[in-house]
Amino acid sequence: MTADFRLPRGGRIDRDSALRFTFNGLSLTGRQGDTLASALLANGVHQVTTSIKYGRPRGIMAAGVEEPNALVQVAEPFAEPMLTATTVELYDGLVADGLVGHGRLTDEPDPARYDSKHAHCDVVVVGAGPAGLAAALTAARSGARVVLVDDQNEAGGSLLGTDDYLDDRPSDAWVRDVVAELDATPDVLLLNRTAAFGAYQDGFVLALQRRTDHLGFDAPRHIARHRIWRIRAKQTVIATGAHERPIVFGDNDRPGIMLAGAARTYLHRYGVQVGRRVGVFTTNDSAYVAAIELAEAGVDVPVLIDARHDVPPKLGAECAARGIDVYAGHVVTGTEGRDHLTDVHIGSLTGWHADTVVCDTLLVSGGWNPAVHLFSQLGGALRYAPGLGAYVPGERLPTARAAGSAAGAFEVTTCIEQGAGAGRDAARAAGFSPGVEVAVPVADARAEETPSAVLWSVPGEPNGVFGAEYVPNAPFGSVPDDARFVDLQRDATVSDVLRATGAGLSSLEHVKRYTTIGTAHDQGKTSGLLAAGIVADALGEDLADRRPTTFRPPYTSVPFAALGGRDRGELYDPVRVTALHDWHVAHGAEFEDVGQWKRSRHYPRQGEDMHAAVLRECRAAREGVALMDASTLGKIDVQGPDAAELLDMLYTNMMSTLKVGRIRYGVMCGIDGMVIDDGTVIRLTEDRFLLTTTTGNAAMVLDWVEEWLQTEWPHLRVFATSVTEHWVTVPLVGPRSREVLATLAPDLDVSNDAFGFMTWQDGTVAGIPARVCRISFSGELAYEINVNAWHGLALWEALIEAGEPYGITPYGTETMHVLRAEKGYPIVGQDTDGTVTPQDLGMSWAVSKKKADFIGKRSFARPENLRPDRKHLVGLLPADPTVLLPEGGQIIESDHLPEPPVQCLSPHSPAGLNRAHRVVAQPPVRMLGHVTSSYDSAALGRTFALAVLRSGRERIGEKLYVPIGDQLAAVTVTETVLYDKEGARRDG
């Protein structure tokens, strides 16, 4: 059913435009300036979707972000879930569908751009309604830098939804003047379509700007669709207005039931009458104005039901003059209708009178809730204002103030006065003297005459209030036992709240989680306070004595894409590549990520998988010559007269005795005695060392050195500098490495006598100045050649060429791992996990006995560290030499897998918990340790593993088991060194 509900005049829409759109498969037309909701209502469409739990028809209830019902999924131009029809600006070609609670993320890649921008200012004003505009203008006139953000497509706030006059002109003339002056003032930034969603410490406000959504298919690709504004302000003015509060009654959820203020907005902003025959139900004067204005626009308004006994005299008389019957002391007790409201049941609060009124629309107003969200997010205490039935800011904050409706003021001139005051105070607090005062205009708006009443929920039974003739009409989906809905999005009712209090819950935070009220997309903007009021009534308490739930960011939903901004795809995290990276790519390397580095994992040849490639690369390193790119190793230059003293404290080994020209392997521990890193230390001069670290720990180790230097031993004259990327490091490995190096470095004596293990020499390799170190991480004869990174590729290519007669083979990290594991060399972070000491690794030889102290030393003497059943690093040989143990696999003594200690009910077992299934099973099998590294070895002709194992060194020779799925693999515990135990190969 569609019909024309657009009034012949009025509204801020372009009546010459025609925007075609499709909603729930229906082809409709709207106008430029419409929201999806106003365009639907203009076509007579109230129902948007059905509810999540009971499948009840649900329509448009509000005109802004507080909308609880009208969730839509936009399909075109780009699929976006979970938007509210009341906030989607209409554009030509829009395709959208109503959503039942859940959205669907598209699996298409999002082609749009997102970004973020910083803004620094003296005063940030949130909300460009009467209060916010006055605040911004006052602050701007004082010379302060001002940022004014507003979530609507134009400034004006609540004025957009009225036909009020200010100083005898339509209010938009006042708005236009203020905006024009703001635009003309330097250092003022006015951001429309920008919703502040979070306010944080130190004047930090986050806002989401929707820059191109309203352009639909015409959105330019080069403009970021959404922008996150990161605003840092000295002072914050919160002028976020108020949300109208509904009243709960039987079947209060039918399409056609909406907030009274929303109907005013649809009337004045969009030129839409929300119904043909409109009833009004209120507890306050504001809905009288809606009734009168609709009647003035030619809408049939038969009845206004006021829960108060005292009718406002002037407003009441205006209603009477327009033929609106005012029922004082009456409430709505129920409604009828299937997919749209048809009848409203009313009754007097005293119970003597009941009637039914035919209406297609019912406007509801239970009062107004100041939008205190941002104030509360800032930690501001809230105070319950009994006259409003709502929370208002309850304290002064040093850097933030609320003004206007957000502070509980609802008359437009009061809002402007408060805004101007807040703007002046904020600017003054930011150090600016007031400028020309903003004149408060004279308003023609109707004044409040009679105080509001507070009514959360119409009293009565769940299934009808006044008599048995009324039965809730819920033929859709499952039938609720109560049709008095508190949270329409969650389908949560008064009975749900009472079940929570009946179960003993009294804290609102608990009730919220028990009932899910306030946890939907709208975060309870219309329902939260109703629930609080119903709980307080049920417990016989006063809301003033109860704590409100805490408001947390975000105020409105924020797409993750916007938060991600530019940080996605290859910009998600920095990618670090070595100077040789392009060579690796050109030669077919497969890469792995090590920290932020891309490292060559292996270099598969045609038809090879990783397993085959690694076996080939290992063989080359053990039998011929091979080389790898080890440039990612962390390198720290440590220099100064006290460098040796510092290193003696940082390493478990003695470094001060290291001679210039020599290299020592070193282990670093935390103060708890656990290994944190290892590497080599090269003494370059008496007061200069070069440290290497594991690739992933380079930054951590530099931080560690700096921490001790700056905080504990600032008297030490030492500087530490990262030089990781200055050097390209190429280990030349294998029995033929000496011959290859000799060809390229004729002036270097590479013999074992002249160039011994763990020494270094400067020389020229392939014509390039180089530092060559006799370091081996494979057990083979090896030379680690370091050159300036600029010359890295030249060195690499020269080595490849010189090694060609020997079948030189590039190898990757996987082969490096196999080679080092065959020799029992642990990798910190793979074979250790922060609970492993050097002694656990079998490296007592690297722990100095001579030094008086070093970091970790005292902890080695702790009883816990002396336990004989600590986990030791050991080797494991599977009984079946083809079985590759899974890294992380547990090691157990038992030769069979027992039943799991907790039995799970299979989905096919009879419903209900059967006690027989809950028998406590045997205690769990004792885990003795786990596999840390596991490989297939070309040199050993079999698989092997490293593991940490309880009392591991005492268990060498024992047979244990590692579960692999449902199977058990038998393993024999061995020493860690499985290849070349006597170390005969390192000197070639």
Partner: protein, 92 residues
Amino acid sequence: MQLIPCPWCGPREEVEFHYGGQAHVAYPAESAALSDEEWAKFVFFRDNPRGPFAERWSHAAGCRRWFNAVRDTRSYELLAVYRPDQERPVTT
């Protein structure tokens, strides 16, 4: 996001900083002389007050220098920042 006033750089966003735990916990001069219990106190035990707390911070993504701060753990407000070699200032 909080601003942290680095004593050398001025106020910067908290993501630039690295937390370093309680301040004024000196590395023991004679660790060997400590009992196991005393040593364990040094390694594992730190205060966790409700209110002002002196702690170490490093401007890790800025000047990379360490400093101390007195922070109110209830409000996160930084009551004072000072160099590592300075005494804890009196805060109210």
